[in-house]
């Protein structure tokens, strides 16, 4: 019986394990090894350089700027999405006619492929014929260089991400709000508590879990940012929207600096691992609760 259990276990788990080892574990190990070499492709003809690639990265304007931009994007985009998502969720939590129709419409951006989203917004951002500048023009304002003004570019990409993913935080927070007991709120209101007070003392504490979940999910995801930058700006103008994923992509696939690309990828692995640890801790705690 016991041995039988083991055999079943192995048979059931093996396919998943094989796939994950092939696609993730082995590749990460390989990247870690390659990051210690100077190489154009694989380990054939690679030159061992120790930590040189990491030192090169530390002194590289392009890498440091990519890292800072990624941080900027991750923090600004995920915080905006959670803040805006909270406002919209509070709005949609109240009963109003047509609510069942509004909800799916609000969620539509979430369902589109990022490439479709990028195509739409790239058109909207066009300086001469874009919809946004046309709107500004129709009220007598000057056009804005959404994608070529170096102080604005990253914010434009953040705007696109906010548009696409705020619906996710709205969904998470709406689910959280539905768990707030109506009787408690009603009782507080009868006791004369104002709306703000009810929100601060009753709603917000109960929303802490969903808020943390939304923030974590968005942080992890915004950190991966690639598609939008690739399609909207290619990292430009200058380095204004260069991000880590793009840095790895360009060095790994465009210039065949696989050693440098691997070192940068390892930096990303460490950051993603730290985020995963926060995530896992939070999850275990909330499961235990």
């Amino acid at each position: 019986m016991h041995r039988d259990n083991h055999r079943r276990l192995v048979l059931l788990i093996a396919p998943a394990l094989v796939l994950l080892v092939l696609l993730a574990v082995y590749p990460v190990v390989r990247v870690a090894v390659l990051s210690l070499f100077e190489t154009e492709y694989g380990l054939d003809g690679a030159v061992y350089v120790g930590l040189d690639n990491y030192r090169t990265l530390a002194g590289d304007r392009f890498f440091t700027r990519s890292a800072l931009n990624t941080l900027h994007f991750t923090v600004a985009a995920s915080l905006t999405q959670v803040g805006l998502g909270l406002a919209i969720a509070l709005l949609l939590d109240r009963p109003f006619p047509g609510r069942r129709l509004v909800l799916p419409l609000v969620v539509v951006p979430l369902m589109l492929s990022t490439m479709v989203v990028a195509a739409i917004w790239r058109s909207w951002f066009h300086y001469d014929f874009g919809f946004l500048n046309a709107l500004l023009g129709s009220v007598g304002l000057d056009g804005v260089g959404w994608l070529f003004d170096r102080d604005l570019t990253l914010w434009s990409i953040i705007l696109v991400d906010v548009w696409q993913y705020t619906p996710l935080t709205v969904l998470i927070l709406l689910a959280g709000l539905s768990a707030v007991p109506r009787e408690v709120v009603e009782a507080a209101r009868i006791d004369g508590a104002g709306r703000w007070r009810i929100f601060r003392t009753i709603t917000l504490p109960l929303l802490a879990g969903p808020l943390a979940l939304a923030l974590l999910l968005r942080t992890v995801d915004t950190f991966k940012i690639f598609d939008k930058v690739y399609a909207l700006t290619g990292g430009g103008p200058g380095l204004a929207s260069e991000v880590l994923s793009l840095f790895v992509y360009e060095n790994g696939f465009r210039f065949a600096n696989v050693g440098i690309a691997s070192a940068a990828a390892m930096v990303m692995v460490v950051i993603a691992g730290a985020l995963a640890a926060v995530y896992a801790t939070w999850m275990l705690r909330s499961r235990a609760r």
Binding site: L19, V31, I88, L112, V116, I120, F253, A276
Partner: protein, 288 residues
């Protein structure tokens, strides 16, 4: 405020409530415009002749609708890319569901030695959170060694990096909710694990499997990075790749672009209509 007599209609309480309603309506209106306008613009632009969108005027709706862009992109071979996207999506989803179901079944039903189940779960979680670009170079080399570059099979395989951890996590939640009593009873009656899994657990887990399938499918349907890296020919390209190739450096060909965008979005929007109830669980990846 004027100091005239307050009519019954405008008692302070009612003014407050009216203002509240107006604020609510305005807020919802703004939210709707923000969320839906770009999508409406996409659909509208896909049926506009070029002269109507290469313009400085802010017009949303087409004056003389045309199907020319849809005809054009279909002529340019878009149906092939649509078919490729469908094949890759179906293949990646089927593979993830089968393999993910086995893994989730084992994790919820069988005793793991030395808490290896937790190790496995941690691994799945880390992979789910890891930026895919990190492993892009080695995965390219693996596919190359297997002769799977520029094939849909290669995409189906490599998409497991996204879809499998997702499917395992989501199925885990659904399977954990099915009490093991029935299978134990069946086992007493002499049924094998495989049979119990197929005849008892599978039917009970069907709604969960369906929801997981749809969200896994959306992941695969929208994937871009690996398609960009591992696909070369137009005959194996997927829709996101077709779109990216058309956001070229040279032209503002928005009509055809939005026609493809609309076609690519349609299946997902239809799926969403069926799935409203599961939206949240799906998008947060069943990670709670």
């Amino acid at each position: 405020m004027s100091g005239g007599p307050v009519s019954g209609l405008l008692r302070p309480g009612r003014i407050g409530r009216l203002a509240g309603w107006a604020g609510l309506a305005a807020g919802i209106g703004l939210t709707l415009v923000f969320a839906a306008l770009p999508v409406v613009w996409m659909l509208a632009t896909s049926v506009k002749p070029p002269g109507e969108y290469v313009t400085t005027a802010a017009r949303l709706l087409p004056e003389t609708p045309t199907a020319q862009h849809y005809i054009g992109v279909v002529d340019a071979g878009l149906l092939r890319q649509l078919a490729n996207s469908l094949i890759v999506t179906a293949g990646a989803t089927a593979l993830s569901l089968v393999v993910g179901f086995w893994a989730a079944y084992a994790l919820t039903r069988l005793p793991f030695p030395r808490r290896l189940d937790l190790v496995f779960l941690a691994l799945v979680l880390v992979i789910k959170l890891m930026p895919p670009i990190v492993v892009a170079v080695p995965v390219y080399q693996i596919l190359d060694a297997l002769g799977l570059i520029d094939t849909l099979t290669g995409l189906i395989l490599s998409y497991q990096l996204y879809t499998l951890p997702f499917a395992i996590w989501m199925l885990l939640g659904f399977l954990a909710d099915i009490p093991p009593d029935y299978e134990e009873a069946a086992a007493v009656d002499g049924a094998s694990t495989g049979r119990a899994m197929a005849t008892i657990v599978l039917p009970l887990a069907a709604p969960g499997l369906a929801a997981t399938a749809v969200f896994t499918a959306i992941l695969a349907w929208n994937e871009f990075l690996f398609a960009l890296l591992f696909i070369n020919s137009p005959s194996t390209a997927t829709l996101p790749l077709a779109i990216a190739n058309r956001i070229t450096e040279d032209e503002t060909l928005w009509g055809p672009l939005m026609a493809i965008g609309s076609l690519a979005s349609l299946p997902v929007l239809i799926a969403m209509a069926y799935l409203q109830r599961h939206l949240l669980a799906g998008f947060s990846g069943g990670l709670r």
